[in-house]
Assembly symmetry: none
Homo-oligomer: 193 residues x 4
């Protein structure tokens, strides 16, 4: 249960970046949140960017294991899709302030400005898309790969856009409606098949 200093820094910074964004999170913020001195921080990390990149790397690792290797890798493809939508939804369900999607926030804040971050984020999103395509292909073997890809992209866009709407309204409604439609789509198509 004991955490090393390095882990504490990363954990706290993950939370700070999620809530405030990368730019708005200062080294002082990180020091205060993790109870660590300046020198110590730079003992473990070379720069603020290095912390940021490590945070993102770990975050994506977490998503990979939970989402790609876990949820999307289960046997039944339709259940996998439903589980993914639910997983995404449930994360936000219990919040009091809606900070948005940890990944989406980083994409919007950094993709056009910080190539190192963009690279990591893009790689993950590509993997996510491909995983989704595979699951969709498994769920609907009669469809073309192109059709699956289109649906995968649309599915991801809906989720990401849904959480953007949640953020501006500070209200879960939009995501609820998006989820409803997504599940319906998945079911509807299933009915037809």
């Amino acid at each position: 249960m004991k955490m090393t200093t390095r882990e504490r820094i990363l954990k706290q910074t993950t939370e700070l970046i999620y809530r405030q964004g990368y730019l708005a999170t200062s080294i002082s913020d990180i020091m205060a949140a993790s109870g660590v001195g300046k020198g110590q921080l730079y003992h473990y990390f070379a720069s603020k960017q290095a912390i940021g990149l490590e945070v993102v790397t770990q975050l994506l690792g977490e998503w990979r294991s939970q989402l790609l290797d876990g949820i999307l890798s289960q046997e039944n493809p339709r259940q996998a899709l439903v589980a993914m939508v639910d997983w995404f939804f449930e994360f936000h369900q219990n919040q009091t302030v809606f900070y948005g999607c940890s990944l989406g926030n980083l994409i919007v804040e950094l993709s056009a400005q910080e190539p190192h971050f963009q690279e990591l984020l893009k790689a993950f999103m590509t993997d996510w898309e491909e995983a989704l395509v595979s699951v969709l292909q498994a769920a609907y073997p009669e469809r073309s790969r192109g059709a699956c890809r289109e649906q995968a992209i649309n599915l991801l866009a809906s989720l990401q856009g849904g959480i953007v709407l949640v953020k501006v309204h500070q209200d879960l409604d939009s995501l609820t409606l998006v989820r409803q439609r997504l599940l319906q789509d998945l079911g509807l198509v299933a009915d037809r098949s």
Copy 2:
């Protein structure tokens, strides 16, 4: 055709905020971009936040007039919907760097942190949603208002999410696929009605 100093400041700041975000845009950046001294700037605006709020206000005014009062107010509701999707798509089509959606970026960056900005953005998004609901209702009179609302939210989510994907990939593909699906949906539903 001459621009006043105040207008010049706002125009340049709009561009800077679009590309870099609000936090990353410093007073110095604004001064440099608009060729204005410190005194001037603080003569016209009380603070950086005041500039930002004015920029957002003008931006939303522009969207209101172009999108809500223009595109979405045309007689034929289905044409209105298609036009809206195209308008959104075409804005991004000609870019070399994909900075995302001016509104979406602000929502993600500021909604959870800056109530004044959130308020403006939320008000506009609400109006946009309502306008969409009305147009959808007009297009599909047989449907319930709830169904229209669900579709409106999903439409907006798809667009916002699509542009998020574009930003992370720095590639228009995702939005192209989203647009394809949206136009298809609008047609498909039309066929059924």
Copy 3:
């Protein structure tokens, strides 16, 4: 008699750099010595290096006007040479701590590390050498230019080296002996001519 803030900064920094060297002179030192706040400092100068370069530029300008345009430009070339040696000597004569030569110190500290400084210093030293060559040529018209150049370099080296010895001993003796020899040489040669 009133000095502008900028002038005050430069004057104090010149003194600090002379005594401590460029690296050892911190922005805080400069702030304290010139009674100026951080923002103010960076209002007038873009960076510590910019201050340093300006200090060096002004210093070299001063040397140019006093030494090259003044002392070395007088009609009688032998008097000019003697006056130069005396001018150099007298500067150090009245000091209690021997900080060395303002130029020599900078050369030793920065020539191998900081190209911008080296460039300025080298340009001045080249001018100084050439001025000396001309004066020597005027004093001893029968000599070859090469011989004059050799003597010029040796004269400069003696002065610079002399003040290095003064610095290590914290004692003017070495420079006194160097001066003695230099004046003797000039006289001696004069006798021969």
Copy 4:
């Protein structure tokens, strides 16, 4: 042939200080260059200053043995003088970047600031001067000790000043001319004697 950790630290630091100066050489630089951890470093040395003083002590020891006990202690005094000038010259001859004189650099950087360093440097320079005086006295027995001392100082000044000029020009020419003159002087005087 294996070097102890302590020796490795000293060797690398000597090089770093020679190239960058004492102030500009950080503990991190030393650690990196010698491949030693923090604990190691402070196990062998009490402080950065202690390392610096040891470096200087060793350096001066080296000069003492090579120059004072070696070159200047050979039987023939005139050969000794010529050998000294050549030794000094040849060290610099093969460099691509001219970092100046290891001793001269330290004198200029530290004499007026760091009493401990100044003490070491001054002691050595005094010994060097005295050794030179003795050799000159041996070479020219007819001269007064005062005259020898004057020449000794001037010889040292020429060398030190010559290398300062080399440093600012990043070009060996100046030292070549200084050497030429010095050897000529030694010969000239020899001729006269």
